[in-house]
């Protein structure tokens, strides 16, 4: 008896869906798109609510009619033959006109919101350039001369105007809690702007790439920190300096020592004039303890082995020597892809294939938000990045590790030993 099945199964299905809906309403959803954190998203949520209301009405009307019809007009033995009705013009007009009317209630606010969202951003907005790479995010603050990666700081209450472009394939920039997404398109510059509302308290949010971009599309994440204006200025003032312990910083310190001497002629590869580190402001970063658990990555660690005991005795000076001495380029070509402002670089920001490392030690995450930044994880990463992020453009450097590019293990002579990696990590962790 098929109808028996309907009676039996339908309630189960309804209960299952209702339970899910309850789950959806009750839980803690850190990436919810229904937030009211920006005026941009207010518009989206307003439209969503309206569509949800209208859609629910249509849904209920249709399904009730359907279920009623199914039960009411079941065939009964010996029942009369149904009336052979072929159609009804009035009905047809009705069920075209009513949905059309419903759509008007949707179309008008939609068009209004489209034009509202796509106005020119206010001229005093904070400018942020977002540059997509396979598979990480570069963020630049042209008004401050800052280039950073995978961690975005935004002042609360200030409009931020993003200009979006990509260095390779298409990507899409999205912080669900702060508003809709915008694609990064090769040979084009895209824009989106919004204002984190003034009454927000500082917080960390997850962001992600939402345009499929190849192997590690899923691993192209980032963090956004909304901070107070004061905190932002502190952060920015520090971030724009050269790296601590860098060539420029050492030279500057030496210059400060011998105060009588003339200004040292430090040449950095950086394109932006760099304030002297002697005057370096205090380091300020978003406090990690204020980051909610869901903004701290829990990506599983790779099988790569690393002698952790070496990390404690890592020699930063030796690590720096490995990176910056051209003689070591074959072994540790780090600075051909990464920029450390204040060091002798082989790449500048516009050529860099990898994230800017100037203040890497001030970040909480790395690897496009995949991993917590700590000595051990960093060491594993340098040893064998592709094992931690599939398709990683950064190759395998650890001696003895399998390198997919050359389809064999990295020979001991060409690769970095655990000792050397520990030194490099020690150096990187000085880059506050």
């Amino acid at each position: 008896m098929p109808t028996l099945h309907l009676r039996r199964v339908l309630p189960v299905a309804v209960i299952a869906v209702a339970l899910l809906a309850l789950a959806a309403c009750g839980g803690d959803y850190p990436n919810s798109t229904f937030s009211h954190n920006t005026e941009l998203n207010d518009g989206a949520v307003f439209l969503w609510d309206r569509m949800m209301l209208l859609g629910t009405i249509v849904f209920v009307v249709v399904e009730v009619l359907l279920v009623y019809t199914i039960f009411k007009f079941r065939r009964r033995e010996g029942g009369p033959a149904p009336r052979q009705i072929q159609g009804n013009a009035a009905l047809e007009i009705t069920w075209t006109a009513i949905p059309a009317l419903i759509l008007v209630f949707l179309a008008v606010p939609t068009v209004r919101t489209i034009f509202q969202n796509q106005r020119q951003a206010p001229t005093d907005a904070l400018q942020v350039e977002v540059i997509g790479h396979q598979w990480w995010w570069e963020f630049r603050y042209p008004q401050y001369g800052i280039t950073t990666a995978n961690e975005l700081y935004l002042p609360i209450g200030k409009t931020v105007n993003f200009s979006l472009r990509t260095r390779d394939v298409l990507h899409s920039f999205w912080v669900p809690q702060l508003g809709g997404k915008r694609d990064l398109i090769a040979n084009r510059v895209n824009h989106i702007w919004f204002t984190p509302k003034a009454d927000l308290s500082p917080a960390a949010y997850n962001g992600a790439c939402v345009e499929y971009c190849g192997s590690s599309h899923a691993n192209m994440r980032f963090r956004t920190f909304t901070v107070t204006t004061g905190e932002f200025e502190k952060w920015a003032a520090h971030q724009r300096t050269v790296a601590m312990g860098s060539k420029a910083a050492i030279a500057e310190a030496a210059a400060a020592d011998s105060a009588a001497k003339a200004k040292p002629a430090v040449k950095t590869a950086s394109i932006i004039p760099v304030p002297a580190p002697a005057a370096a402001p205090e380091t300020w970063v978003f406090p990690v303890e204020k980051m909610a658990a869901y903004t701290l990555p829990s990506t599983p660690m790779p099988a790569t082995k690393f002698d952790e005991s070496l990390l404690a005795s890592g020699d930063a000076a030796a690590g720096r020597e490995l990176l910056t001495n051209p003689a070591n380029l074959g072994k540790a070509p780090c600075l051909t892809c990464h920029v450390i402002k204040g060091e002798t670089n082989y790449a500048n920001d516009d050529q860099a294939k990898g994230p800017n490392l100037t203040h890497i030690a001030t970040r909480h995450t790395f690897g496009a938000g995949l991993y917590r930044l700590d000595a051990k994880t960093l060491a594993l990463w340098i040893k064998n990045a592709p094992a931690m992020k599939p398709g990683s453009v950064m190759p395998t450097f650890g001696a003895g590790e399998y390198n997919a590019l050359i389809k064999q293990a990295v020979p001991a002579a060409a690769g970095l030993s655990d000792r050397q990696i520990a030194d490099i990590v020690a150096y990187l962790l000085t880059l506050k």
Binding site: P2, H5, L6, A13, L20, A23, A24, Y29, P30, N31, N41, L47, W48, M51, G55, V58, E63, L65, L66, T69, I70, F73, R74, R75, A81, P82, Q84, I85, G87, N88, W95, T96, L103, A107, T110, Q118, V169, P176, Q177, G180, K181, I185, A186, N187, R188, N190, H191, A208, V210, E211, Y212, C213, S215, H217, A218, N219, A293, Y294, S298, G391
Partner: protein
């Protein structure tokens, strides 16, 4: 597959020239009978349904929990690319084609399609092209740039290797098949309708198929051009989508979606047509608002060409374009909604019976409504920017394609299985399949609405713990296994019923249209005598003339319809061979298969060329091309019948 008809009926059809000597593999390779080709399409597409379903199962298994590594990132990317490509091009379109082939000539009272050999060619290009695009996954070389193949990721610079070569060439091959079939069916429907079968008397399935064929011939050339560009970029170093030469990735997106959106209607309209056959039959009532149903189909097809950029609201087209495409997209909801209401009105006041086909048809109405409503939600760009490229979209189009297209196709299979085989499918197993499908699909896809709106992007092979998505993903995965079980029950039912299903007569459901006037399975010539049609419901005229009194007929004297109708009903006893009846039947021929084979060799040569083996590649391309042209000439110069 090889044994042709059910034994009892095969005896009846002893004289038919397709019987004994042609029941082997060779008969299938050489057949030009639209019914056999339809069955070939059906079996092949069901095979690919299993393939696509297994791909989906692997995908969902990988996503069951955060940070799993059931498959690698690279394999996952191949799986989701192939799942989409398979389901669109190798499953839903060919399943529709199976019904086009089997049903259109029967519904319009024709003996075959307009070009029987071209029809065989379409099938073989599809079957071989399907292998071309599917087999590489066993070598880890399957397409990995998404079914949408966005440049420049699909281009030579970022999409190295053979993966996307197989995709770009495979879609070209499948496009040839679809185009050839579409020309064939347009011609068939325009030109081979039985006397009295006016356009407005055509069964609704034929109507929707008619619209679909126009969508195919107008949409496929656009992706053909787009694919040629990509192919040239990949193989000959042109600059269409090459960023460094100034190429514009949006060109691909526009061309792809000018095809891609009509493609959605190519997938769904045949299912709408099938449901429009099933509902009136089991409601014992004519389709409500036939004219409106036909016109709304045309309207959907027409508007379908004007809404493509709603797939691109995130690319920054500017407020004017966003608004235009937004409103156009909302408009397309109207003719679609009208269909839903007309179906319900068809059932309303009817005398409803609920065999499995009816369950699936009702399932389509219930489930497609959800997909339709979430579709309208995408039409509002400010809100869509939060939805696009998230699991909300995945939920939306699976309600459209599984809840809509696949439900409709299952309805069609259960409805027409008796016509194709002369036997019923098991209703008990059918009921199990339906309910598992119904619950499974809601378990799988409904939670995706939540995970999407709660921030989960599409096309990610993994996600971190604690993002609030875990319960939804696990539910989806459980649902997917339920769908897999439902699919296996269907397969069992299908194959078992072929052999031992209860015998069905020529008109087991009391359906209104011409295909039910001939034996099941139909003889190779379909109609011993081409019927003359006087109304939309010739079989009801015959079997229930009293009910048909109010229905418009070309004969004024509605009271004597039973005598006036000219539908010859061919009972089993009337089975005679085509030869006995003097009906010319097209000769079986292997030439269409050979032309298709030549095309595959030619395209494979391009892959070999990319592998750097130039002499072999040239040999394959020249050899395949020559083989194709020679077979084509042989085909054209040999007589049809």
């Amino acid at each position: 597959m090889a044994s042709s008809a059910i034994p009892t009926h095969a005896q009846g059809a002893s004289g038919a020239s397709q019987s004994s000597e042609q029941s082997g593999l060779w008969s299938w390779l050489t057949t030009v009978d639209h019914k056999k080709i339809g069955i070939l399409y059906l079996y092949t597409a069901l095979f690919y349904l299993l393939v696509g379903g297994l791909e989906a199962t692997l995908i969902r298994t990988q996503l069951a929990k955060p940070n799993l590594s059931v498959v690698s990132a690279e394999m996952y990317n191949q799986l989701f690319t192939m799942h989409g490509t398979t389901m669109v091009f190798l499953v839903v379109m060919p399943l529709s084609a199976a019904f086009f082939n089997y049903l259109i000539p029967l519904q319009i009272g024709a003996r075959d399609v307009a070009f029987p050999r071209l029809n065989a060619f379409s099938y073989w290009v599809y079957a071989l092209g399907g292998l071309f695009i599917t087999l590489p996954i066993f070598f880890g070389m399957a397409p990995n740039g998404g079914w949408f193949g966005y440049a420049p990721l699909s281009g030579p610079t970022y999409g190295g290797g053979f993966n996307m070569d197989f995709w770009v060439l495979g879609l070209q091959i499948l496009g040839i098949s679809s185009l050839a079939a579409a020309f064939n069916f347009i011609t068939t429907i325009i030109n081979l309708r039985a006397p009295g079968m006016t356009l407005m008397r055509m069964p609704m399935f034929t109507w929707m198929s008619f619209v679909v064929q126009f969508l195919v011939i107008l949409a496929f050339p656009v992706i053909t051009a787009a694919l040629f560009f990509l192919q040239f970029d990949r193989f000959f170093g042109t600059n269409f989508y090459q960023v460094q030469a100034g190429g514009d990735p949006l060109l691909w997106q526009h061309l792809f979606w000018v095809f891609g959106h009509p493609e959605v209607y190519i997938l769904i309209l045949p299912a709408f047509g099938l449901v429009s056959e099933v509902l009136p039959t089991h409601s014992r009532k004519p389709l409500f608002g036939y004219n409106v149903m036909a016109y709304s189909g045309i309207m959907i097809g027409f508007l379908g060409f004007g809404v493509w950029a709603h797939h691109m609201f995130a690319v920054g087209m500017g407020p004017v374009a966003d608004s235009i495409f937004s409103v156009a997209t909302m408009l397309i909801g109207l003719p679609t909604g009208v269909k839903i209401f007309n179906w319900i009105a068809t059932m309303y006041g009817g005398s409803l019976r609920f065999p499995t086909s009816m369950k699936f048809a009702i399932g389509l109405i219930a489930m497609f409504t959800i997909g339709g409503i979430s579709g309208v939600m995408h039409s509002s760009p400010p809100s869509d920017l939060q939805q696009t490229d998230t699991y909300f979209v995945v939920a939306h189009f699976h309600y459209v394609l599984y809840g809509g297209a696949m439900m409709g196709i299952f309805a069609g299979i259960y409805h027409y299985f008796p016509k194709m085989t002369g036997r019923f499918m098991s209703e008990r197993l059918g009921s199990w399949q339906f309910w598992l499908n119904f619950v499974g699909l809601n378990l799988t896809f409904f939670p995706m609405h939540f995970s999407g709106m709660l921030g989960m992007p599409r096309r990610i092979y993994t996600y971190d713990a604690g993002q609030g998505w875990d319960v939804f993903n696990l539910t989806s995965t459980v649902g997917t296994y339920m769908l897999l079980v439902a699919g296996l029950i269907f397969a069992y039912n299908f194959f078992k019923s072929r052999v031992s299903g209860a015998p069905a007569g020529s008109d087991p459901w009391g359906a209104p249209t011409l295909e039910w006037s001939i034996p099941s399975p139909p003889p190779e010539y379909n109609f011993a005598q081409i019927p003359e049609v006087t109304s939309r419901y010739p079989m009801w005229d015959l079997k229930a003339p009293d009910r048909m009194a109010g229905i418009e007929h070309s004969h004024a004297d509605a009271g004597t319809i039973a005598e006036a109708h000219a539908v010859p009903v061919h009972e089993e006893t009337e089975r005679r061979s085509a030869k006995e009846l003097g009906i010319p039947i097209p000769f079986p021929t292997v030439k269409p298969f050979m032309v298709a084979l030549g095309i595959i060799i030619l395209f494979s040569g391009l892959i070999v060329m990319h592998a750097g083996k130039f002499p072999l590649a040239m040999a394959m391309m020249i050899g395949g091309g020559a083989f194709m042209v020679a077979s084509l000439y042989a085909w054209l110069t040999s007589p049809l019948e």
